[in-house]
């Protein structure tokens, strides 16, 4: 069922690429319309699956990725519609397509662990997924900032110069995305800690809950991510790390998130696997 949104995202990605190269407003509107269609179809698919198994749309990894893709697409659409800048689509859409492949090829929804049947779980997961979607957006903004910066600094105004928004706009958008992402990451982590300690107290004989520690790879990476983005927020505010350094930091941060979470979730069995 997740294949249909994948098709839509892939089509939108193609049209965004054409728009980026040729810059015809008509093509740009078509791209946005396709993405809007993709999000609607995706909403429907997620809704159907949730009704089918009657648990949260992120209770298994493929479904969590699917929800992440949906949130990222929504956040991107929001930015595009509020700033009227379409150039970032060509960078975001490939991420959406690549990630959406995971739920598209995996089996349908499976019943989830009864342990996860809690409102805490919703807050925990939704906050974290939204935080990572914001970081993805910030990462792409950072990447485009660096590209644009390079062309202006090198005095060679080429391909990207005429297509990307101004450095100032990219920097402000990046700052917002990082701040929003960091806030939700913090919220998600706090809720996770509170929830885990409550669950530990409620079920003292569940071995998985007792094994929670900072040494767990997944938790370790989360702490690392939180540290990087906390630094990004603090450095911008008090050390004047704006512009290119902030851009690099957010691109790097998202690369770490992407490269660590996917392998850990697929190949490493941790105490935090559900």
């Amino acid at each position: 069922m997740n294949g249909l949104p994948l098709l839509f995202y892939a089509a939108a990605a193609l049209v965004y690429a054409i728009h980026f190269a040729r810059r015809e407003p008509r093509v740009g509107r078509a791209a946005t319309t396709l993405l809007l269609g993709a999000v609607l179809v995706h909403t429907f698919v997620i809704g159907m699956q949730t009704m089918e198994v009657w648990n949260a749309p992120f209770a298994s990894l493929p479904r969590a990725i699917s929800t992440f893709v949906w949130l990222l697409a929504l956040s991107y659409l929001y930015t595009e519609l509020t700033t009227d800048e379409r150039a970032m689509g060509v960078f975001i859409l490939p991420i959406l397509v690549a990630l959406q492949i995971v739920p598209a090829v995996s089996a349908g929804a499976e019943p989830a662990d009864p342990l996860l049947d809690s409102p805490w779980f919703w807050v925990h997961m939704l906050s974290l997924l939204f935080a990572y979607a914001s970081f993805a957006l910030a990462g792409v903004l950072g990447l485009t900032y660096v590209l644009q910066f390079k062309e202006i600094k090198k005095k060679h105004l080429g391909f990207f110069f005429s297509r990307l928004p101004s450095l100032q706009v990219l920097d402000v958008m990046n700052s917002r995305a990082v701040t929003v992402g960091w806030s939700f990451l913090t919220l998600g982590v706090i809720v996770g800690i509170v929830w885990a300690s409550q669950a530990q107290a409620a079920a003292p004989d569940d071995p998985r809950l007792q094994a929670f520690s900072v040494g767990d790879p997944k938790i370790l990476v989360t702490v690392l991510t939180w540290a990087i983005y906390s630094f990004a927020v603090v450095a911008r505010r008090s050390m004047g790390w704006n512009g290119r350094r902030a851009a690099w930091l957010s691109a790097l941060g998202f690369a770490i998130v992407l490269l660590s979470f996917l392998p850990i979730n697929f190949f490493v069995r941790t105490s935090h696997t559900f």
Binding site: R22, R23, E24, P25, Q148, I152, K153, K155, L157, F161, S162, P165, S166, L167, Q168, V169, S238, M239, G240, N242, G243, R244, R245
Partner: protein, 445 residues
């Protein structure tokens, strides 16, 4: 009915001839009015910019129109004919369409792709249209030319990239800062170059402009002109610390801003980028300052390179723009051809309807016994038969591919159905009708 264009442009006439034939300095509207009052012209538009004076008219007789237009130019500008006649160029029909579309697209401009000309074309048409000098042909022609200009602007990069040094600087500033509102500008050097650049930036809506010069009185003077303030030379570094855009244009032989000096002002928390344009020769800013994080340093040669790159990128887009022009020209000529078939189509319809009515009249005595309702139905049915018979020929006549075929077909139709010229009232070409009736179908029919 022919479309005819006569005029001078920067390609055919030197500036002193263009100046003397210029309409913009006087009342363009009056000129358009005087032109369309002439007997040979049914419709007219006067397009006059600093690079061209062009008269677009619709006329039955091109040779007469040519004479009339030359006489008009001579009378209107008070010039002997031989002072300008050798510089005139002329185009007819689809050639004239092609020319106007190229002009609107910016392809015929001195600086290819410049955007102002489209506005001037629109203005010229608005003036003529206001005075009821344009009719169905020129209305359609000029509206099509606006569409061409718009398409070229949005589908090609013909108008992109600054092609003058000062525009290149402003464009760069926009790419760094986004909107320039509220940005602080520091101009070092109270010379003419500094003043011009400051004026340019002022017109782009920057915030505060501070002039720092060695001669305080001249700095004050420029500050007044550009609506800015001036500061004494000793406060240069203080002003620099708050500036976003710096223009240096002094005659100094040694650098005024050093790497160390700029570095010291950049090391402040939450410092926005600093864009320095060094238009002085010899340079006012140490080149190594460009290596400082968040400092963008451009000198005159850098800006010239940018302009050069933009120009070559524009010329790479020329072919795509020409393709759009060619496409729109053929669309326009197809429209004109379909209009060329209109008199024949109308005559054909009149003829068929005349036959229908005479047959009904002939049968009148036999139909008299029918009740009014049935009679109305007979009338209706016969009318529908005629309509249906004519649908296909009408469409075919309007869609003929070229002029020659059209003449052959219309001739054949006229012969086959015995149509004489003037069988229909509408056969009179639109342009020759009294003014009021031509206005009735001002817009596309």
């Amino acid at each position: 009915m022919h479309l005819f264009l006569l005029g001078v442009s920067h390609r055919t006439a030197p500036v002193d001839v263009r100046e003397r034939l210029d309409f913009t300095s006087r009342d363009v509207g009056a000129a358009a009015e005087a032109l369309c009052a002439r007997a040979s012209t049914a419709e007219s538009v006067v397009l006059s910019t600093c690079n061209r004076s062009e008269l677009y008219v619709v006329s039955e007789d091109v040779a007469r129109a040519r004479q009339d237009l030359i006489a008009f130019l001579s009378e209107y500008h008070g010039l002997p004919t031989d002072a300008f006649v050798s510089h005139l160029f002329e185009r007819e029909d689809s050639q004239a369409v092609h020319h106007l579309f190229r002009v609107a697209a910016g392809l015929d401009s001195l600086v290819v792709g410049e955007p102002q000309v489209l506005g001037q074309v629109k203005e010229a048409f608005a003036v003529a249209s206001e005075r009821r000098c344009s009719g169905p042909v020129l209305n359609r022609l000029f509206h099509s030319s606006f569409a061409v200009g718009k398409r070229v602007r949005s589908e090609t990069a013909l108008g992109e990239g600054a092609v003058s040094v000062s525009f290149a600087a402003v464009q760069l500033a926009r790419k760094i800062f986004g909107k320039l509102e509220g940005r602080r500008v520091l101009v070092i050097g109270a010379g003419e170059m500094g003043k011009l650049t400051a004026q340019h930036l002022r017109s782009q809506g920057v915030g505060e402009i501070v002039i720092v010069g060695r001669t305080q009185s001249r700095a004050d003077e420029i500050a007044r002109v550009v609506d800015g303030t001036s500061a004494p030379w000793s406060e240069l570094m203080t002003v620099l610390a708050r500036a976003d855009i710096v223009i240096t244009a002094t005659g100094s032989s040694i650098p005024i801003l050093t790497h160390a000096g700029i570095n010291s002002v950049m090391h402040r928390p939450r410092r926005d980028p600093l864009f320095i344009v060094d238009i002085a020769v010899p340079r006012d800013v140490e080149p190594s300052a460009g290596d400082i994080e968040q400092v963008f340093l451009y000198n005159v040669d850098d800006l010239r390179t940018v302009v050069q790159e933009n120009l070559s990128r524009r010329s790479a887009e020329v072919q795509r723009a020409e393709d759009i022009v060619a496409e729109e020209v053929s669309r326009f000529t197809a429209w004109r051809r379909s209009r060329g078939a209109v008199p024949t189509v109308v005559a054909l319809r009149e003829r068929f309807d005349a036959i229908r009515r005479s047959e009904l009249k002939r049968l009148d005595t036999r139909l008299v016994g029918l009740d009014p309702d049935a009679r109305a139905r007979v009338d209706e049915v016969t009318r529908l038969i005629v309509e249906k018979l004519l649908v296909e020929p009408t469409e075919q006549l309007k869609a003929l591919p070229d002029e020659e075929t059209q003449v052959a077909y219309t001739e054949a139709v006229r012969r086959l159905f015995g149509l004489r010229d003037g069988t229909a009232g509408d056969d009179i070409p639109v342009g020759l009708r009294p003014r009021g009736s031509a206005r009735a179908n001002d817009e596309d029919p």
